[in-house]
């Protein structure tokens, strides 16, 4: 139940006269002041869940409304009282009131994801504009014409294919019973078409009359992972009496196309605006809004492109000082914007890159010897599996003991302030600091298992990673440090309280015995310098003389990432540390954050398109536009294991030739076949025993999940090795053991 007071001042409403045949040349404008008080009662039932909206809703409302028409305020248009003198003399500056009351009933059984693709909805409502009651009148009891509006609206949809391509039909009908009192109906109370009222290709308020009928046929189809498009056509008309009108002769037609972001997954960002272009009455009109949007986007792309090209430009002589480099500020949003939107476009303008493509002479990795192997030593990579014997036990020990925090109480010192999963920092009873991360509610083991498997895989593959372990604790085992803080959404720090900690724990998965399962990641030694980028160099590090996109270790990392579906392999998931060892201080480069590999997204399962297309994949989008969405996506034949602790990963549709991360990675983009084969040799070094040991270390509570992950990793490894090292080669032979 609600009571609302409203006041609207609309200074420049458009009016062309009454009927479908009103001339565009008769454009005029008017202003209105509209004041109302409305009481509303709403009752709904048929909810799918307590939090879901009601499927069937009944509402009733009533209250006075006062309205007065004024001269239009647009200096460039003729006011309505001049263009239509009869209407002007009857309405200008005359305040009128109505007592408005009505009721509606709607039923909504639509469903589907990412857009509604099945079912439909029906709504009917009636609204009476009656003589005002003197005691309730806002200003005057002078009434305009009384009338009753009956409206009916229905919309149905049906879809086909796995990623739904949906056809929708919408019909809206409005019938006004004007009665016989002969009072003047104000333009704002008439049925209108144009703009958002229907027939969007026409100006708002383009057609006015008592009744209207408008139909809309829409085809919604996906273009890529986060983008979908709709093509629609509208057909409609206004009538003095819809039941006696002849719609075929009066109907106006409008067609348009639009594209908008879909919420198929939880995206890190959304395209905020809908771009549209359309044509009406068979005449093409490119909307000014679309033109403006396109101009802004192109200008932005161009500006960012220049930054990107300069970032990859000539490098300065290295600084030979031995002091610690400064911390590298890294923008997460810019990384996505640059790599997923700007760089793919500007690459098409890169003459040198085009020339290399045409001549089939890509630039090979710069830090390899004449046997095509990485020159050592390297602060990025150390030869392990694929190059020397690494037992499963050595792999499980990884970079540290792999045992997690020492037994005893933990002291919480700060909340986790990066990434999308909740967590906090703790100090164990021995004084070691760990970052604690959890599984999302409803997805037990998913993220924590992925993290532990990932850290072991990438350590065994030769990369520097933190020491991760699965750990369990109870809320009673936590103490809050005296100086513990958390950071709010606006970057402000506050003292951490018990209430804060309890609320944080209420948002993570909890075991049936009351314990919390978490991943404990031992803090890396040294001073953090921020993430590294997958291109360019750190100019204040004298030992960083090779552009990162030319490094074999980073290019060949693609192969390992493809194997374990590390689609989150990007700059922000890396960390440079300034370490001092053996009397030498230097920058060591680490990969971090593996909780979004295998079938895990950071806060739930991976989306089906993971690995087969970027967030915004221009190549895939082009194909979908050309085929109007009828071309099947590469992932559509895949089978979801439907296991919450596994998420979505499978081997059937895994294509080892064209696996892709969430968005383009500059070093991966420069990879050549040699880089891939170098990485394939590492992947081939993981035996079935290694894979079984990896999954055992993840402590899946569901044995079916463990078995599925082992089988999937083996199948993906075999596909990848056969693709890049030859069909007749089995992995253990390649590994050279």
């Amino acid at each position: 139940m609600a009571l609302a007071y409203g006041y609207d001042w609309l200074p420049q409403e458009q009016y062309y006269g009454v009927g479908n045949s009103s001339s565009h040349d008769s454009l005029s404008d008017y202003a209105t002041q509209d004041e109302s008080v409305r009481g509303k009662f709403l009752w709904g039932w048929g909810r799918d869940s307590a939090a879901a909206p009601a499927r069937v809703v009944f509402s009733a409302w009533g209250g006075p409304r006062s309205q007065v028409m004024r001269t239009g305020r647009d200096a460039n248009q003729m006011s309505y009282d001049v263009r239509f003198p009869a209407l002007g003399s009857a309405t200008l500056d005359r305040r009128v009131e109505h007592l408005i009351y009505g009721a509606s009933l709607s039923s909504d059984w639509r469903s589907g994801h990412p857009h509604w693709s099945r079912g439909g909805r029906v709504a009917i409502w009636a609204e009476r504009y009656d003589v005002p009651i003197e005691g309730l009148a806002l200003h005057t009891s002078q009434s305009a014409g009384q009338f009753t509006r009956y409206s009916f609206e229905t919309e149905m949809g049906a879809s086909f294919m796995r990623d739904p391509r949906t056809l929708r039909l919408k019909l809206r009908l409005s019938d006004v019973d004007a009665g016989k009192d002969g009072g003047q109906m104000l333009p704002l109370d008439m049925s209108r078409l144009g703009g958002r009222d229907g027939l969007a290709g026409y100006a708002p308020g383009r057609f006015h009359d008592l009744d209207l009928m408008v139909a809309r046929l829409m085809y919604v189809f996906p273009l890529a992972r986060l983008v979908e498009a709709d093509l629609h056509t509208e057909w409609g008309a206004v009538y003095s009496d819809v039941w006696n009108g002849r719609p075929a002769e009066h109907a106006q037609e409008f067609c348009s196309a639009s594209a908008c972001a879909a919420a198929a997954t939880a995206p890190p960002w959304r395209v905020g605006r809908r771009l549209q272009s359309g044509w009406s009455a068979s005449q093409l009109h490119l909307w000014r809004g679309a033109m403006r949007d396109a101009t802004i986007i192109l200008a932005l792309l161009a500006s960012l492109a220049s930054t990107a090209s300069l970032a990859a430009g000539p490098t300065a002589s290295p600084d030979t000082s031995t002091k610690a480099p400064a911390e590298h500020p890294y923008s997460y949003a810019y990384d996505i914007l640059d790599n997923d939107l700007v760089r793919p476009v500007t690459r098409m303008l890169d003459v040198a890159w085009i020339a290399r493509k045409i001549s089939a002479h890509p630039r090979e990795a710069a830090n390899v010897d004449d046997r095509d192997q990485v020159r050592l030593p390297s602060t990025w990579w150390q030869p392990r599996i694929g190059f020397r014997a690494v037992t499963p036990e050595q792999m499980l020990a990884g970079p540290g003991p792999g045992t997690g925090p020492a037994p005893g109480r933990w002291e919480v010192s700060h909340s986790k302030d990066q990434g999308v999963t909740p967590g906090f920092q703790v100090k164990d009873s021995k004084g070691n600091k760990f970052l604690i991360k959890f599984d999302a509610p409803g997805f037990p083991d998913l993220a924590t298992s992925a993290e532990v498997i990932g850290s072991r895989v990438f350590w065994a593959a030769g990369y520097n990673v933190p020491d991760d372990a699965i750990t369990y604790f109870r809320a009673e085992d936590l103490d809050i440090a005296a100086d513990a803080t958390y950071t709010d959404a606006h970057g402000h720090k506050y003292p951490m309280t018990e209430a804060y900690l309890q609320q944080l724990l209420s948002r993570v998965e909890r075991q049936s015995d009351g314990r919390y399962r978490c991943n404990a990641s031992l803090y890396l030694e040294g001073k953090p310098l921020g993430p590294f980028e997958y291109r360019g160099r750190r100019h204040d590090d004298p030992e960083d003389r090779i552009p990162h996109e030319l490094r074999r270790e980073l290019r060949g990392l693609w192969t390992v990432c493809a194997w374990v579906n590390h689609a989150d392999s990007r700059g922000p998931n890396s960390l440079d540390m300034w370490v001092t060892e053996d009397g030498r201080s230097f920058v060591r480069h680490h990969l971090i954050d593996f909780n979004a590999i295998l079938g895990a997204g950071a806060i739930g399962p991976r989306a089906y398109p993971t690995g087969s297309e970027y967030y915004v994949d221009f190549g895939v989008m082009s194909g979908e536009v050309a085929s109007l969405g009828l071309r099947s996506f590469a992932w559509e034949p895949s089978a979801d294991p439907h296991m919450p602790s596994v998420g979505f990963i499978e081997a059937k549709t895994f294509d080892p030739g064209r696996w892709r991360p969430d968005y383009p990675n500059p070093a991966f983009d420069e990879r050549t076949e040699r880089d891939i084969r170098w990485g394939a040799r590492i992947v081939a070094g993981f035996t079935d025993a290694h894979i079984q040991a990896l999954v055992d270390a993840a402590h899946y509570s569901d044995p079916r999940a463990a078995e599925y992950v082992v089988r999937t990793l083996i199948e993906r490894r075999d596909k990848l090795v056969r693709r890049w090292l030859g069909p007749g080669v089995t992995p253990p032979v390649i590994a050279g053991r």
Partner: protein, 169 residues
């Protein structure tokens, strides 16, 4: 005739560039063969190669910092760089602006902390921009919560320019 000349000129340029690419003295060698090829160990390296632990040795590096582009690539890309120079500042501003917003929580990069306080007494938010509506603001304040039902008072206002989206008919 003119278009043919332009096309021929374009092809010639691409041929020259392709020749440059072929002349690229990138370090190449035989493709890796299946088998236990050892990783490269340059002279002067640390003694930690046999260890599985990360090395602390001085890393191999070329004598001078490398450019990501060969000389011929830099030459052919120079005009584009000059032309795009005016946009460089805007790109840098975008990068720093996003970083600034992230550091102040305006662009979320971290998990939202659980709310331990009630909603603000008076809040304002931007209104959605619909057809024919300009930017607006909505403000409001909660009045009371009785048995789980909230009472709220608010005001909204927005500019409504007359024709911001449509083409003439």
């Amino acid at each position: 005739m003119k278009s043919m000349l332009i096309r021929s000129w374009s092809v010639a340029v691409l041929m020259v560039l392709a020749a440059g690419a072929r002349a690229d003295p990138a370090p190449v060698g035989d493709p890796p063969r299946p088998g236990p090829t050892p990783a490269s160990q340059d002279s002067g390296a640390s003694a930690s190669f046999d260890s599985l632990a990360a090395t602390s040795g001085v890393p191999w590096n070329p004598p001078h910092a490398m450019s990501p582009r060969r000389a011929w690539e830099q030459v052919v890309l120079l005009p584009g760089r000059v032309v795009s120079l005016p946009f460089t500042g805007l790109g840098a501003v975008t990068r720093h602006s996003l970083l600034y917003l992230e550091n102040r929580g305006r662009v979320p990069i971290a998990p939202q902390p659980p709310r331990t306080k009630g909603p603000p007494m008076v809040g304002f938010q931007m209104l959605g921009l619909g057809d024919r509506t300009g930017p607006g603001r909505r403000g409001g304040t909660p009045l009371a919560t009785i048995d789980g039902h909230h009472a709220h008072a608010g005001v909204l206002g927005m500019r409504r320019p007359p024709t911001c989206t449509t083409a003439p008919n």
